[in-house]
Symmetry: C2
Subunit: 362 residues, 2 copies
């Protein structure tokens, strides 16, 4: 099978992203990092039965002693307890500083394994082997790692870049439909904020993507990773442009909280949030109504919710204010000036936000 | 009062070390980091009554809103629970990414606050305000942060450089004698591994240091920080030369464990460990017997133990092997080629180690 490789340019912390079908079996992609070392696979109880054995074979062929650490599946387990289970397993097997953690799974596994790697013995290497579309196009790239705290999501974490991202697109075949669609939300996001040609391509290929056509998927993942890699290279620690990746996320977080824990997938909330953010961009005089419709229609065709849960606009705004309060900053919105061009705005009037929420619910 | 400033040269992560009496009141030293921000003081229940109010006044004068987080005193509390108490306090007061943590206390407080700063919202700034001699000459400088895990000391942590170290030498007046002497062990270490003139100066001024003469203390702290800063600038992440700072520590860790939890202070164990390491250097044909005696005599005059606890050499070697096993590497020893010149050796025969332990016990 064909595969593609691109690079996150971060000097001595730079690394390759390999994308293609069947990469999980390709020992030569793992060898540069794990050869002669212990590779501790961190995964969950849903992914392990599907892919852990194949990965172990590849790692062994790459000259590595392997170890398997299986966590429970789900965002509810992105906690200190799971992190500590990783530490315990590493210490029990006397893992030293040359040990490499290998995150096999979605965003939760990637965030947990990445944070464990950032902090075990003051930092060890890790690899990301994402098996969900969301992780392949977004969370596995860029070095953001975290766990949740009872008082806030992703409140405890570190920036810790992986040694490589190895995205096996064939693993997406086993992904439940809702999770697959949730990943597509982030793909649409990249087009919307940074690349109008890519957005047009997604529009033209929405049915192929929905059908998980391998070639279309590989192209979408590659383009998404290229955009993410360029933004991360420009602004690793989110001092500026990296914040544009949060398009739809301010509304999205409020939706996730308002709908009740776990009711909406992150990507689903971001989809409905992007419609609100597009409406807000229109209310603020940036985006044309026809462009708002393009975003909305594309998300609908991707099988995503385009309206938020049945909550009063006031409730949603209250949740956004709470979110802002937790982080103690002003609420900043990522707005579209046009399809493919995003800006960060901190001076948005509450009345306009309300107007946008109402418009998005029509 | 006079004060001195030197710099840890680490490019964009570089920072000043200010040393002098009364610095805790000098708002202008804090202002560059905390002005217009929330400063969260992390301290313990022994240090807080002595210095927290004065520090709060200085921080307020520097234009900062202050917050006090008081932990329990002692190595036994360098745990996840204490770390979580810091996170809880920060989140409860809605601390954002611009918040600065200020570590006020000894090595435990510095390590905890530093690790909290490394991981709260993926990394915020922190200041070190060390109030023990050990912290002023060693642990506050260099960015090593950590907590203990039930299966090993300092196993979870990060490299996270402070924005400044502000060492008020007047705070040493309240330090219990054992803790003061324990700090002197690290001072002697710097001379032994890196600077024979400094070691000669310590020998000539041992009585003044023991009497806590402010001028002598300031000089000793400045020279120690200069050596540490130069080594850290050369090798931030301990890939090479920084390991020389572990002179006496391989034996020292075994003594700490063998004597039973908390019976020996870290500096006391390092002192007895340095005598063993000096004897080993002699056994290996590097160091003259007269030079071993200089190290031993100086440590004795500093009020430090020069013999380990009543343990069979075999037991001590077993504990070193366990320590090695936990970290899965080979036991490496820092040896002295002469006073002021240290080398790292990984090929030391067990018989020689035994011989050195026996010689140190004479």
């Amino acid at each position: 099978m064909s595969s593609a490789t691109l690079r996150v340019e971060l000097g001595s912390r730079g690394y390759p992203i390999h994308i293609g079908a069947g990469l999980i079996d390709r020992a030569e992609l793992f060898a540069p990092i794990v050869s002669g070392r212990t590779a501790a696979i961190v995964t969950n109880d849903v992914v392990a039965p599907l892919y852990a054995e194949r990965l172990e074979r590849a790692l062994a062929s790459a000259g590595s002693r392997t170890l398997r650490i299986v966590l429970r599946d789900g965002e509810a387990f992105k906690t200190w307890e799971s992190l500590n289970a990783i530490y315990d397993a590493l210490l029990a097997s006397q893992a030293d500083r040359r040990t490499v953690l290998v995150a096999l799974g979605g965003g939760v596994v990637g965030d947990l394994a990445g944070f464990a790697a950032a902090t075990y013995q003051r930092g060890i290497a890790h690899l990301q082997v994402p098996t969900t579309l969301l992780a392949q196009v977004d969370s596995s790239v860029g070095g953001k790692t975290a766990i949740n705290h009872p008082l806030g999501k992703n409140m405890i974490g570190a920036f810790h870049q992986p040694g490589a991202v190895i995205a096996d697109t064939a693993t997406l075949a086993t992904l439940p439909p809702r999770e697959f669609a949730a990943g597509l939300a982030e793909v649409v996001k990249y087009g919307a904020i940074r690349d109008r040609d890519f957005l047009a391509w997604i529009e033209a290929n929405a049915e192929r993507l929905h059908a998980r056509d391998p070639e279309a998927l590989a192209h979408a993942i590659l383009c998404s990773c290229e955009i993410k890699a360029a933004i991360v290279a420009e602004d690793e620690r989110e001092a500026g442009v990296r914040a544009l990746l949060n398009f739809g996320h301010t509304f999205g977080h409020a939706i996730e909280t308002g709908a009740g824990y776990g009711a909406w997938l992150h990507g689903e909330a971001v989809a409905a949030g992007m419609v609100m953010a597009a409406e807000l961009s229109s209310v603020m005089g940036h985006l044309k109504k026809t462009e708002v419709s393009r975003v909305r229609d594309l998300l609908r065709r991707a099988g995503l919710p385009i309206k938020g849960p049945a909550l009063a606009p006031e409730r949603l705004m209250e949740l956004m204010a709470l979110d802002k309060k937790a982080a103690k900053g002003k609420t900043r919105f990522v707005l579209l000036e046009s399809i493919g061009r995003a800006v960060l705005r901190g001076d948005v009037d509450e009345g306009r936000v309300r107007e946008a929420i109402v418009a998005a619910a029509q």
